[in-house]
């Protein structure tokens, strides 16, 4: 989540002061991402240092929350480039859930179907919360878009869990340390334990 670019976007509409930036940021992100005022100031200082914003020359210089900023030409260019840049997602993410399942695959005594079900129940529980948010926010476009984004992301987790469970049913696990000369019996993870 890039707060600096979100603040640049707000300033592209016209000069604004610190408190105003925080309020507008929260309103436009459906108040799902609260922002503290210290974060706004430190971000604005970095943007000013980088020449992307400047103090508004039409306003008398004021310290702290009342200081008014405006976007510079370099800031406009930065914002425009950012909007068109794909989010970082090319490298396989270090997915904690995937790592847990890969680890569990080799651990003796782990009930993998039960473990996958626990994650499925938890993920659908989160989906219910975002659906309830969506249900109560019929006219709030930002909130609807946020809820949809989270729901599609969480749905993909559930679909992966379903696919994983189906694969486990069809594959016997690799033995973690096969005893030499001993014939391993194939074992199905899906069987009742």
């Amino acid at each position: 989540m890039s707060v600096r670019h979100a603040l640049l976007a707000l300033l592209s509409e016209g000069p604004k002061y610190g408190l105003q930036l925080r309020q507008e940021f929260e309103a436009r992100t459906g108040e799902v991402w609260p922002l503290n005022v210290g974060q706004v100031y430190s971000t604005m200082q970095r943007l000013e240092r980088d020449g992307l914003v400047e103090a508004d020359p039409d306003e008398p210089a004021q310290p702290g929350p009342q200081r008014t900023y405006r976007i510079t030409e370099a800031g406009d260019a930065e914002l425009s480039a950012w909007l068109r840049t794909p989010p970082q997602g090319d490298a396989p993410p270090r997915d904690e859930l995937l790592i847990k399942v890969l680890v569990a695959l080799r651990l003796p005594g782990v009930d993998l179907p039960a473990m996958l079900q626990a994650h499925r129940t938890h993920t659908i529980g989160q989906m219910r919360q975002y659906t309830r948010l969506k249900e109560d926010a019929a006219d709030d476009l930002a909130l609807l878009l946020i809820a949809d984004a989270q729901l599609y992301r969480l749905e993909s987790v559930v679909r992966w869990l379903d696919a994983a469970q189906s694969r486990l049913r069809d594959h016997s696990p690799e033995p973690s340390s096969p005893a030499p000369g001993r014939q391993e019996q194939p074992h199905r993870h899906g069987a009742a334990r």
Binding site: M1, S2, L35, Q117, R120, Q129, T131, E155
Partner: protein, 250 residues
């Protein structure tokens, strides 16, 4: 005295076939759905979720166990009494709408009332009101093939809710619809629950199940897990000043 729940399954099992070839489709299922509650039943194909819905809707009998509709045990009813109870208390919604092509929207909705002995004019009036509730008053005289998928499913929903039916059973009700239209149908089902109906929704779709108050997971014929009650909306909020921005050097 509290009213009995619209639906209760106690120790319900269903086995198809006998001996070595017997297949256990449902194994000792207990499920109670209270008035105003939307319960989703999730599971992969062949998990037993559709059998559960058929038995809950009295379309199929359990091998063992008991089903209660509004406190009435189905096993104690004769064939005709059971059919009457189905018509009066239970509404069904299916993925493919199951509307009769030769009848208009309002006639499709009035039909179950007329079958139950309601006079034609009164049945049509009730059907018209049910249609208006779902925002389709102006399509009362349209035939199913003149309606969009979303409109057809709304007609099917009006037919399921018309009269005083308090139990709605839905099998993949948005399966044939795009996501936005499906969402509209789910909003209507939620609204029906808010006004006191109980609903059971069978689906393999997590987005759909997420509309429910409670999700039960079925696998190999048994309920293996259930979601906890929903926490308040504040649980979605990020604590102030955490994890919002990427770390940046001086």
């Amino acid at each position: 005295m509290t009213a009995p729940p619209p639906l209760e399954l106690r120790g319900v099992s269903r086995t198809y076939g006998e001996g070595a070839a017997a297949v256990r489709a449902l194994v000792d299922v207990d499920l109670t759905v209270t008035a105003g509650e939307l319960v989703a039943v999730m599971g992969p194909s062949g998990s037993g979720k559709s059998t559960l819905l058929s038995i809950a809707g009295s379309l199929e009998e359990p091998s063992t166990g008991e089903v209660f509709i509004e406190g009435t045990a189905l096993s104690g009813l004769g064939r005709n009494e059971r059919a009457r109870l189905r018509r009066r208390h239970i509404g069904y919604v299916f993925q493919d709408f199951n509307l009769l092509a030769g009848l208009t929207a309002v006639e499709n909705i009035a039909m179950p009332l007329e079958l139950d002995g309601v006079k034609s004019r009164a049945a049509r009036r009730a059907a018209g009101l049910a249609l208006a509730d779902l925002g389709l008053a102006d399509r009362a005289d349209s035939f199913p093939d003149e309606l969009s998928g979303g409109q057809r499913q709304r007609v099917a929903l009006a037919r399921a809710l018309v009269g005083d039916r308090r139990l709605l059973l839905a099998d993949e009700p948005t399966g044939a619809l795009d996501s936005r239209t499906g969402e509209e149908v789910m909003r209507l089902i939620r609204a029906a629950c808010r006004s006191g109906a109980a609903a059971v929704l069978v689906t393999h779709d997590a987005q759909l199940a997420a509309w429910a108050d409670r999700v039960v997971f079925v696998r190999d014929g048994a309920i293996v897990d259930t979601t906890a009650p929903l926490p308040g909306p504040e649980s979605l909020l990020t604590p102030r000043g955490t994890d919002l921005d990427e770390p940046e050097g001086p």
